[in-house]
Structures are given as structure tokens and as C-alpha cells.
Amino acid sequence: MTSASWQAQVYAALKAARITQLAYVPDAGHAHLISAAHADADMGTVVLTTEEEGIAFAAGAWLGGQRAVLLMQSSGVGNCINMLSLPVNCRMPFFTLITMRGEWAEFNPWQVPMGVATPIVLTAAGVHVRRADHADDAAELVAASAALAFDSAVPVAVLLSQRLIGAKVFAK
């Protein structure tokens, strides 16, 4: 399966989950989803200066009756911890897709701390953590995770493994 194909299926899963707002700090691993969202007249898009803005944004969308998804990289998870108290305290859904760094053929040592810490700190903050390692079940995992988040009103994070995304090449 080509990488564009599993990402297109993930985008379709977001749409099928009735998500209509997509907030992000850009990451190369999310490039397909970001451009698909911008090309979609029915998807609101917001580029953020820092990842925790997306958690507050998603809470506001929920108060207004709409479903949002936050796209970020594992490094951005570190910026999010206190803001996660908002959906947790208010018993709101929260849904995020996180591209992992620092765990598979990583060139940049600065990515390793949050690569290790991401599932641990998310779990400590009350988030249900799921992990997609394979292209052939990524979309199904995203669909099931979105359903958990929005139907059971809990925070859910799907980690897209670095092996799945492909390690970043710094020098060609």
C-alpha cells in the first residue's frame, strides 16, 4: 500500500466521523491530511502558533456543536499538558492524531525526549492512547478512536508511528 493511500483513507475516516474542523501545527508527516483539509470546502482549518491552542479550539468547537481534530507532532505534546485539563474537567470529547518522532531511525536527538514521553504524559493527563504501526489498519484505528472520543466523550490520541510515517531525511 502506498503512503498516500493510507493517508487518504485516514482523511476519509475523519470525514465519516463528522469532523468539520481541523487544527494543526504543521508537520511533514501530516502533510497529506493538511492539504486535503485545505482543499475541502467543508472542513474548517486553523493553523496554530502552538499545539495547546488546538485543545482549547476543539473545546470551543464542541461547545458550538462541532467536532474538531488536532494534528501535531510528538514534540508538540509537551506543550499540551495543562490545556488537557479543559476537556477532561468538562467531560468533553477530544481527538488528536500525533506523528511520532524520536523512535525509529531518528537523526535529530532533540526529538527523542518527547518521542519517549508522549504516550506516558498523555496517559498521565487522562488521554486514551492508541497507536497505528501499519498502513493497512491505520484508517480503521482512526475511525474506532474517533468513535470512542466523540461517542463516549473522552480524550483520545492516535499515535502514528515513525515507522509508518517514514523517518525524516535531513541530508540527501
Binding site: 486553523v46 485543545i55 461547545l63
Partner: protein, 193 residues
């Protein structure tokens, strides 16, 4: 140092929230939530008691989900400073139905009234303008506040109200987040979605 404001925060909140109608109101943690509660608790007030730095972005998400409604974020200088980047995100998003009013006393009121950056060196209205907000205002007198009441309900405006650092008696609105979110969604008409 910049000069402290002299406006009475409760008078300002009373004017800004007078006859709210179906205005959607989000308040930042601390005194702005108390001020809004004192002006009149209602289901369409969503009081934050945490998530510092997030009030403006909650407003953005709400504004984008409810494009035909007006959203007002009422917050303090400390909370707005912590979410300063959101001024860029919101301007870039280009929504027309969101306004922000900062009750700026230059103090971190919940922690012992230490000086914030707006008492020292920072002009939040200038920050917003530089981030791309086309309409900004700073008010120091009640006549200006009166004029801002209607503008905050009809324009994508960022307004700074220079209030006195004097504290008012605490008036504590509800703080149960699940209750606040549920009653807000019911009042908007989106429960069950």
C-alpha cells in the same frame, strides 16, 4: 512602567454584558469570570476556571462552529499574555463573529497581584494589531467603554479596557465544567450532536 488604569472592573463588565441577548460569552479564569458572574449568570456564559491561555481559542472554536452567532471572549491581561500566540492564529483564521475584551489591570490577580507584562512594557492592543487584527481599541474612560459595548457585538474587535488594580468582592460563578459545558450546549441547541 506603564500607568495603571482607573476603570472599575464591575462597572465595565456590567456595561459590556448589559442585555446580552444570545451573545455567546467565554470568560478567562480568575476575576473576569467573577465579573461576568456578578453581571448576571446565564447558561450562555462559559466560565473557565483553568486552561490559562486558552480563552481566546475557545472563542475561536465556538465562533467557527456557530458562524451566525456573536462570540465575546472576556479575559484578563495575564491570561491573554499566556495565550498571546492565539492572537495570530485568530487573525489568520479571519473569523468575523468573534471579539475579545481584555480587562487589563496589569496584575496577576489570583496569585498576590504581582505586576504583569502590561504593567511593565507590553501593549496588548498593539500586539493584536501587529498579529493582524484590523480593529483594536484601548479604553480608559466609561464613555469609551459604552461605545465599545456595541462594537464588541458587531465587529471582529480586540479591545483593552484599562481597569484599576483594585479588587472587588469575590462573586463565584459555577465551576463544575461538565455542568457549564452541558448547560451551554443545551442553550445553544446542540446537545445530542
Amino acid at each position: 512602567m506603564r500607568n495603571d488604569g482607573t476603570l472599575n472592573r464591575r462597572e465595565v463588565a456590567t456595561v459590556l454584558l448589559r442585555e446580552p441577548g444570545d451573545l455567546l460569552v467565554v470568560t478567562g479564569l480568575g476575576a473576569p469570570s467573577y465579573d461576568a458572574g456578578a453581571a448576571g449568570d446565564r447558561p450562555l456564559n462559559f466560565y473557565l476556571w483553568g486552561a490559562m491561555g486558552g480563552a481566546a481559542m475557545v472563542g475561536l472554536g465556538l465562533a467557527m462552529a456557530q458562524p451566525r452567532r456573536r462570540v465575546l471572549v472576556l479575559t484578563g491581561d495575564g491570561e491573554m499574555l499566556m495565550g498571546m500566540g492565539s492572537l495570530a492564529s485568530i487573525a489568520a483564521a479571519g473569523v468575523q463573529n468573534l471579539a475579545i475584551a481584555v480587562l487589563d489591570n496589569g496584575r496577576y490577580g489570583e496569585t498576590g497581584a504581582q505586576h504583569s507584562h502590561t504593567a511593565l512594557t507590553t501593549d496588548l492592543a498593539a500586539v493584536a494589531a501587529a498579529c493582524g487584527w484590523r480593529a483594536t481599541a484601548t479604553a480608559r474612560g466609561m464613555d469609551e467603554v459604552e461605545a465599545l459595548r456595541d462594537r464588541l457585538r458587531s465587529e471582529p474587535l480586540f479591545a483593552v479596557l484599562r481597569i484599576s488594580p483594585e479588587e472587588e468582592p469575590r462573586h463565584l460563578p459555577p465551576r463544575d465544567g461538565a455542568y457549564l459545558a452541558d448547560r451551554f450546549r443545551r442553550a445553544v441547541g446542540v446537545e445530542g450532536l
